[in-house]
């Protein structure tokens, strides 16, 4: 679909190892922004349109650079590697998956440890899994582990790894190319998958008036036995969060986004309330509080090597955010009143 999105999906970067992703974004955005800094924890902060006028609305957009993966605990003498997860991995999908290890990108494959293979448990916990590298050397404790996966087209869909949250990084990068009346601060955050750590310190430093987290989120829209809620569905437009485990969205921002989408005929959906969490969780609690909301591109099989997403949803996420930034999202919020 796009060279930048492909590059971002291919780039390797679990929490604490976001350097490669950051370098790609730095290079891509340098021509379009007025300031570009990296803070002490590793967040990439890009700024645009700040006239210094404090009457101007300061909008922070956040997308996290890290992806789920693993970390080497020990390289065994027999050529296997013991590892743990960094971020939420589902142990059911791990055996047989190909991975890359460390800065040298050493290939390996995940397997059940021999003792676990006899345990009779249908699903081995990560502690019972090992990576077979064929005895490759140079692997050290602390090396990051990422899934190996091609970025490619599956029918009308895109398939790749790390769409959570490289698609958010891509959407944010595209938005930074536009011009808006508000002061726009884009933050590419670190360490989201292990506790929203980068976003909290960034929001403290940026002191935004409002914030929007741009995400890739769970789509589980395949047929179910019961008529119950899918988290989101592919092709139904960007999702807007009302509430998840990390935060309640500011209702005014939810209204701005849904009304903007409706006014411009952009499809949108609510994300199923109550599940997941985003950088909004720490951003909204920074200093005296920041009204915030999350907008996400639905991805099937998120947190696996083969996430699927619909390029139309990506396009519509950019369109929605761009319209909102040029409109009410770029202006001061009105006081919240009851609708009764």
């Amino acid at each position: 679909m796009n060279e930048l999105l492909e590059k971002l999906s291919r780039a390797r970067g679990v929490a604490g190892h976001e350097g490669e992703v950051r370098a790609i974004l730095r290079e891509a955005l340098a021509p379009y922004v007025e300031a570009l800094t990296v803070d002490s924890i590793g967040n990439l902060i890009v700024r645009k349109g700040g006239s210094g006028d404090r009457g101007q609305q300061r909008v922070m957009l956040a997308a996290h650079m890290d992806e789920v993966g693993g970390m080497v605990m020990r390289a065994n003498a027999d050529g296997t590697v013991k590892f743990r997860s960094v971020g939420g991995l589902d142990p059911r999908i791990l055996p047989g998956k190909r991975v890359r290890i460390g800065a040298q990108s050493v290939p390996g494959v995940i397997m059940r440890a021999p003792h676990a293979a006899r345990s009779g448990k249908r699903v081995a916990p990560i502690s019972d899994l090992l990576i077979d590298t064929g005895g490759a050397g140079g692997i050290l404790p602390g090396d990051m582990i990422t899934f190996e996966s091609e970025y490619e087209e599956y029918g009308r869909l895109l398939k790749g790894k790390a769409f959570d949250d490289r698609v958010g990084c891509y959407v944010l990068a595209e938005l930074m190319k536009g011009d808006y009346e508000c002061e726009l601060v884009g933050v590419f955050t670190v360490q989201e998958e292990i506790g929203l750590r980068g976003a909290g310190v960034a929001a403290y430093a940026v002191e935004p008036d409002v914030a929007v987290a741009l995400e890739g989120t769970v789509a589980d829209d395949l047929p179910k036995q019961h008529d119950v809620s899918p988290t989101t569905g592919l092709g139904k437009g960007p999702s807007i969060s009302v509430m998840d485990r990390s935060a309640h969205a500011d209702r005014r921002l939810v209204r701005i986004l849904t009304e903007t989408a409706t006014a411009h005929d952009i499809p949108w959906q609510f994300k199923q309330p109550g599940v997941g969490g985003t950088d909004v969780g720490t951003i909204h609690l920074a200093r005296e509080g920041v009204p915030a909301v999350a907008v996400a591109v639905p991805c099937r099989y998120i947190h696996t090597p083969a996430a699927l997403m619909d390029p139309a949803d990506v396009k519509n996420a950019i369109e929605l955010m761009s319209r909102a930034l040029s409109g009410p999202l770029g202006r001061p919020l009105e006081a919240e009143r009851s609708e009764a």
Binding site: R251, V254, Q272, P273, L285, S338, A340
Partner: protein, 333 residues
């Protein structure tokens, strides 16, 4: 204050949607405080400046949370039944048989898949809300809409029954304290917080913004005075409770001592509270910025987080007396 408690208990206000309860409380604060504002997360802040100048005067934040637990619609099925998620610590066992109200007046009743004689424990996956609709199109609620537990406000002697005494009774105690406080050396920051039930979020940002020197939360606490209750010394009708510790906070010994000394000096009955589950807004403010000495005045309440909570009016009156007398005097040096 009795009428005030009843009035506050009747106002809609799940975590994240405190607009209506904030409007009602701000109406009550009119004339009681020197300044009033709503902060960026929705906390209502009333500032009452000191009436006498004294070295023992402090900036004291008093926090009572406006929000209440509830449910949020996650899906409306073809028949018009709603799936939902919980807002705050909703007790699954208390759902069947209880009623919820939506902001637009729609009522909801809980149903569970399967036979009514089944002995399964209710789980969120099995439960659904009946909102009086026959189809998705007919339903007057949509995904993201919230509802709160409601049962009619009841009184038996001094025992009060309501679905949300947690923490509307605390809000009433704080308002009544402001009404009765004639003179004080302290700058009082009366904060009616948002989103306490989902992780003391409003207090976190209000505590940062206000930089108080002391934080006192006013909230309900559990009791150990019913059959087979978790052992706990607190009982209804024996006075306001002064918190020693809960899951997230150990009260500052000096703050606790100040409250205890006041109670003893003015012959106000009180109980010491050690709560083994839950916490209050004070826990969030205690660790704000460089730290804030923290304490909590609690109103004992049975069946907290169920749709039928029971408290004793005299304990609420005692909490007001304790606060008014403590705030009228100096903070111990």
């Amino acid at each position: 204050m009795r009428a005030l408690i009843e009035e506050l208990c009747g106002v809609f206000g799940p975590s994240g949607q405190e607009e209506r309860i904030r409007e009602v409380i701000s109406g009550q604060l009119d004339g009681l405080v020197d300044e009033m504002r709503t902060d960026r997360l929705g906390n209502l802040i009333g500032v009452k400046r000191p009436t006498v100048s004294s070295e023992g005067g402090k900036r004291i934040m008093l926090a009572a949370h406006m929000d209440e637990i509830g449910v949020m619609v996650t899906h409306v099925d073809a028949q018009g039944f709603c799936r939902f998620t919980t807002i705050g610590g909703v007790l699954m066992n208390s759902l069947i048989g209880s009623r919820v109200h939506f902001a637009n007046g729609v009522e909801g009743a809980f149903g569970m898949e399967g036979s009514p004689l089944a002995r399964e424990r209710p789980t969120p996956q099995k439960l659904f809300l009946d909102v009086g609709a026959d189809s998705k199109e007919d339903a007057q609620v949509q995904v993201g809409d919230t509802a709160v537990f409601r049962s009619s406000f009841g009184e038996v002697g001094d025992r009060l029954f309501a679905a949300n005494l947690d923490d509307r009774i605390g809000c009433a105690v704080l308002i009544q304290t402001l009404r009765e406080l004639e003179s004080s050396p302290h700058e009082i920051l009366a904060v009616f917080t948002v989103q306490e039930e989902v992780g003391v979020r409003g207090a976190t940002t209000a505590g940062y913004g206000l930089e108080p020197e002391i934080i006192l939360a006013i909230d309900v606490t559990a009791t150990g005075d019913f059959p087979q209750a978790t052992p706990m010394e607190v009982a209804l009708g024996k006075g306001a409770a002064i918190k020693v510790m809960d899951r997230r906070m150990i009260a500052h010994p000096k703050v606790r001592g100040w409250l205890e000394d006041t109670a003893q000096a003015f012959d106000i009955p009180y109980q010491l509270e050690v709560l083994e589950f839950g916490s209050t807004d004070a826990a969030a403010v205690q660790v704000s910025r460089a730290g804030v000495p923290a304490g909590t005045v609690s109103i004992p309440c049975r069946y907290v987080h169920s749709p039928s909570q029971v408290a004793d009016y005299n304990d609420a009156l005692g909490a007001v007396r304790l606060l008014v007398n403590a705030l009228s005097g100096e903070y111990p040096s």
